[in-house]
């Protein structure tokens, strides 16, 4: 089953008198439980593409369809709700709400979705244990290391069982050990929860762990390799 389809997606920036074709005629689809890396040199359009997929930005042309819903058909407040219910996000840094504890951060999306407290608690403990932070539930982000913060962010992204999780260079600010740990956790959860992960990266060791590698160059998909 396809969770995500991109059809002839283009993104053209027209600022500063230079026209930048940041995403150039990209057509892709993603199935359930994929573990896909988007790679390419700096400026190749990875961030732009992930933002389009996540409904944070609108394509200049083309269609993005998530489990049957065409993103460009949604009003901005509907889009926010759509993101809440369908997409998990892990950003490069400063993902977490600084005034909330690890547990509250993971719970946050479920709270927005009005889950009952009991189910929220169960899911939160399950995920925090899964990311290896079962003993840090009451720590605020400022008391956690960068790697631990990213793990909490992954737990939060998965909390409400989205269709897929987007992560733009989630390991960029981590040392290689923490990066590997994070990826291992992501892979494990991808496997256990059957949730698609799409992440961009520069790090060859991270790329090695992906099950599918999409390479961009100047906004175009130049290769799309599935490794099993």
């Amino acid at each position: 089953m396809k969770v995500l389809e991109l059809k002839n997606v283009n993104k053209i920036y027209n600022s500063d008198e230079v026209k930048v074709h940041a995403v150039n005629d990209v057509t892709l689809d993603f199935a359930e439980a994929e573990f896909a890396a988007i790679v390419g040199p700096s400026g190749s359009g990875k961030t732009t593409l992930l933002n389009l997929i996540g409904g944070l930005d609108m394509p200049t042309s083309g269609e993005i369809i998530i489990t049957g819903t065409n993103l460009s058909k949604l009003k901005s407040s509907q889009l926010i709700d759509f993101r809440l219910n369908n997409i998990g996000f892990v950003f490069q840094s400063y993902n977490l709400i600084p005034v909330l504890t690890a547990k509250e951060n993971v719970e946050f999306i479920m709270t927005l979705q009005k889950w009952p407290q009991k189910e929220r608690d169960e899911r939160t403990f399950e995920l925090l244990n899964a990311v290896g932070l079962g003993d840090r539930i009451d720590s605020r982000p400022s008391k956690l290391s960068g790697g631990q913060q990213q793990r909490v962010a992954v737990a939060r992204a998965l909390a409400s069982r989205p269709k897929f999780v987007l992560a733009d260079e989630p390991t960029a600010n981590l040392d290689s050990k923490a990066a590997t740990t994070l990826l291992e956790i992501m892979e494990k959860l991808n496997h256990e929860e059957k949730i698609t992960f799409i992440f961009s990266t520069h790090d060859p060791r991270v790329v090695k762990m992906a099950h599918r590698v999409i390479t961009l160059e100047d906004g175009k998909v130049v290769s799309d390799v599935k490794l099993e």
Binding site: I80, L84, G88, N95, L112
Partner: protein, 473 residues
């Protein structure tokens, strides 16, 4: 909503120092504004009360032309039934008729212009109470000699008494105050001093044909009780008014200016003197409340009772337009100062908001990106702002309450020239605070308004925010 409150509350304490500084600035603004305003309003009240309750009254019934042209010709017909009808009106506490005019007063070779106030000796007790102003003690050469002979008085006390030679006093308390003796001397010598300086005095009976003369005027005219004074003036419709009046009593008026020229007599005597049968120049009405609303309703009710269009009721501020304008002017400049204070505080709050928004731009971006509706985010920021304003506001108001209460019941006692002047006018030289009123609640309104104004900025920012731009930081 609970979640929003939790996040807002925690956000507030994220930058503890900034929150404390901002709240403290609101606190001090509110605190100073309340205290300052309370003193201002309290002082006006005190002034108005003193002036109104013993000089003009809250409302006066006059001939329409009397205020501009205070002549006996501009008097009006009066009977007791009008006074009793007015005293039936709700909130009216006293109704006092006056017949006021100017004459020349002479005795022997001395002549002086004098203000004549004709009163009803009984009704007047509720208003200016001249009986309490009768001279009871007088420090004369004779009194000093008597004191000396009595022995028992130490020299330094005698010196102090001598310093006040020629002065007279309407109460022992006043005499005591003016002498300013040490506690011990006071206790030992006062009874003797009072005994030696005491003078006999008299008052007017209901239809008395005699007069009361103010102390300074009496000494200028060189008259004492039992002597006579010749009054010459213009009566009703230009008739000349002349009469000879026996002095029944000497009154001490705190204001030297008035003490120099006041003569009091009964209304019937004055009507006869001026040939103004049945007429008075003003009917002074005192009230229990002095709000604008009360003044206006009572005034309207009195106007209905008045027989013709030649007599009208006027409020104290119509009667004292200059004082009223002064108070208004002073009050406005006070308000302008508070306005400035709040203006500065507003920029403090606004600065905090600006920093808060720029610091948290990325965080706002993350929140909306992961699925928080902007509406909800706006609510959190609004709650934060309300907390920020409310902490300072509530603390400021609470802190001001005990001060206002204390200085309301135990007002600051003034010293120096201003105090002497006030006491000369027979007022308490105090600076009380005003009781809690709209001025108190208005601070809340002002702070709320500032907070709303400052909140508009982040709300607008959030409304226009583009997630990807915010995420870039």
């Amino acid at each position: 909503m609970k979640e929003e409150f939790k996040i807002a509350w925690r956000n507030l304490w994220r930058n503890r120092r900034r929150t404390i500084i901002t709240s403290a600035s609101v606190f001090f603004a509110v605190f100073f504004a309340v205290i300052m305003r309370s003193y201002q309003l309290g002082t006006y009240d005190h002034m108005i009360n003193n002036l109104i309750e013993s000089f003009t009254g809250y409302i006066q019934v006059q001939h329409v032309k009397y205020q501009d042209n205070p002549l006996i010709d501009n008097s009006f017909d009066y009977n007791d039934s009008l006074a009793s009808a007015i005293s039936e009106i709700d909130k009216v506490v006293s109704v006092t008729p006056h017949l006021e005019s100017f004459t020349l007063a002479s005795s022997g070779t001395q002549t002086k212009g004098a203000a004549v106030i004709a009163i009803d000796p009984v009704m007047e007790r509720n208003f200016s109470d001249p009986e309490s102003k009768l001279v009871k003690y007088r420090i004369t050469d004779e009194a000093v000699t008597r004191l000396k002979h009595a022995g028992a008085i130490p020299d330094n006390v005698l010196e102090k008494v001598k310093k006040n030679l020629g002065r007279s006093f309407s109460s022992s308390a006043r005499l005591e105050l003016e002498l300013g003796l040490a506690d011990e001397d006071n206790e030992n010598c006062m009874p003797e001093i009072l005994k030696c300086t005491e003078v006999s005095n008299g008052f007017l009976t209901a239809n008395d044909e005699g007069i009361l003369v103010s102390d300074r005027l009496a000494s200028y005219l060189k008259v004492a009780i039992g002597d006579s004074v010749i009054l010459m003036g213009q009566g009703y419709h230009g008739v000349s008014a002349t009469g000879i009046f026996p002095v029944r009593g000497i009154i001490k008026i705190p204001s030297p200016e008035i003490d120099n020229k006041l003569i009091m007599m009964t209304i019937p005597a004055a009507q006869k003197f001026y040939d103004a049968e049945g007429k008075i120049t003003s009917l002074v009405v005192n009230l229990t409340g002095k709000s604008d609303r009360v003044l206006k309703t009572v005034k309207a009710k009195i106007n209905i009772l008045l027989p013709d269009n030649n007599t009208v009721a006027k409020t104290w501020y119509e009667l004292n337009p200059i004082l009223y304008q002064q108070i208004q002017g002073d009050s406005q400049s006070g308000q302008a100062m508070l306005g400035l204070l709040y203006f500065i505080i507003f920029f403090g709050i606004f600065g905090t908001v600006l920093m808060m928004v720029s610091e948290r731009k990325r965080e706002f971006g993350v929140l909306v990106a992961i699925g928080m509706q902007k509406k909800k985010l706006k609510r959190i920021v609004t709650i934060e702002m309300i907390f920020l304003g409310a902490i300072g506001l509530v603390c400021g108001l609470l802190a001001s309450i005990p001060l206002i209460l204390y200085f309301y019941f135990y007002p600051i006692v003034l010293k120096g020239d201003l105090a002497n002047m006030m006491e000369d006018w027979g007022w308490d030289a105090i600076m009380p605070t005003a009781w809690f009123g709209p001025y108190f609640y208005w601070q809340a309104v002002i702070v709320a308004f500032m907070v709303v104004l400052a909140t508009l900025y982040p709300l607008r920012k959030i409304g226009k925010m583009k997630e990807i731009e915010a995420l870039k930081g």
